[in-house]
Amino acid sequence: MSVGSAEVVIHVEDLAKHYRVADKQPGVVGTLRHFVRRKHRLIEAVRGVSFDIARGEMVGFLGPNGAGKTTTLKMLTGLVHPTSGEATVSGFVPFRRDADFLRQITLVMGQKQQLVWDLPALDSLRINAAVYDVPKAEAERRVGELAEMLTISDILTQPVRKLSLGQRMKAELLAALLHRPTVVFLDEPTLGLDVNAQTAVRAFLRDYNERYGATILLTSHYMADITALCERVLLVHDGRLVYDGDLAAMVARVAPHREVEVELEQPLPAEQLAALGEIERVDGCVVRWLVPHGALTRTVAQIMQTLPVRDLRVTDPPIEEIIGRVFSEPAPGAKA
């Protein structure tokens, strides 16, 4: 998807990363063979991925485990050298790890922590402020502001080991954003959090994006993160980019129907129900139709006018199912 005339902050072109990994068969014989003659295999974690992201965009990075999401994030943050291709972030080549580049970005990893386990988060925040050269008064102001946005003002003086997982993740976010990065990479930021904490983290990220115009690239297994935050998604599968575009457009194309479920006052003849649209299922008084997006309003109005309706619900197929369909049949116009 083109980012139009907006300023491109992340530019990726034909980016690839190949790893050489040891390949060992199980069992004693496999172990001995592996010891004597080591076999290696080339893993193509990322294969020629290209995309641009504009300033202020929030983009979801989706794909099954091992699809190459995290490797791409690590190349964009300068942690891993690409095998080939080109990547620039805010005009910098990430793997050169220029100090000015590192001041502009951050990487939040849901399953790794940077806060010192035995000390209150405030101690780690003091270190981060010094590392990023944030003056003391300004650092205190930012800590206050971010802690308020994250609703963790009262727990910053407790040892990190005493915090709940949700509180710790919020404190990790605070530590990662204290230097006010303009490009934020998030790798599974809500992993393992309960529903309330997930919602709070999402609300915070949206708020941060709006307040500071930060560009955000986010990977998550929780589709709710993506649907709540991102209009645009990048789908990777087996190291390739299989879809880059609008989330709603993808849903409309891959899943052109919405589900209309109605609970009737009493069961009705099948032919009367079929006249209103394609029936997916009838179960006593409960009827479910598959209705094309364009016909939704008309069909719902007809149902309400002609049938004795007790309850009516309109739902989308689960997004996981939609993504699954995209992976099984690469979309037209997909980039290989």
Binding site: T70, L79, A99, D100, L102, K112, L119, V131, D133
Partner: protein, 264 residues
Amino acid sequence: MSRRRPPLLRLVGLFWSTSVAAEMEYRTDFALAVLNSGFGLLTTLFGLSLVFGDGPSFAGWTWHQAMAVVGVFTILEGFTRAVLEPNLGQIVRHVQQGTLDFVLLKPVSAQLWLSTRGLSPWGFPDVALGVGLTVWAALRAGAGAADLALALVPLAAAVVTLYSLWFVLATTSIWFVKIYNVTQVLRTLVEAGRYPVSVYPFGHRMFFTFVVPVAFLTTVPAETLVGRGSWAWIAASVGLAAALALAARAFFRFALRFYTSASS
């Protein structure tokens, strides 16, 4: 244009104060560290007294001169425990758990961070005992203030040399991941520095001078301290330290190209 880097001293001060604060959460460890240092020192001195049992000198070293070697060794043990272990010992863990990512994402030298982020107060008793023993033994061996001051040069070189050797070995964890054993081998070899290198047979002396430079870690500083040193050896120890420090830095930069970051 690169912006001003944060004042390093302030940063290292912060690193150390938070690190000591974290260690102080565990109070009994301090008492154990003091006991451990005292017991270790007594064991070494007992071994030395056995060596000197036959007369006032051994391999050209008097009792007090040899004690100065033990003192320098104890200082380096303290430095290892206070600085090298809590920092370079963590590099392996950083690589295994993928937290090296956080270090590499900071706009400060990754080597500085990895080398100074931690400080364990449990090495302080060794440093204090070592300094006390070294100064006492040197004075008893007839050293003057000038000898003490001059000995600081090869001692500083010894600290840099020991650090550089550890850092190179710890850096190899980027490829091999599990290298606890390698640093353990280095620690065992450095143990040879408890005694003047001239007490060992010729082959060992060559090994401890040119392969694993234990002679430069303890013998050269102690020799300078007790007035037996030579400018050539002092210059060699400074040259070795500088060469190893530069090599360690270059090696770390090279190794980072191969860092693949632990998978999530």
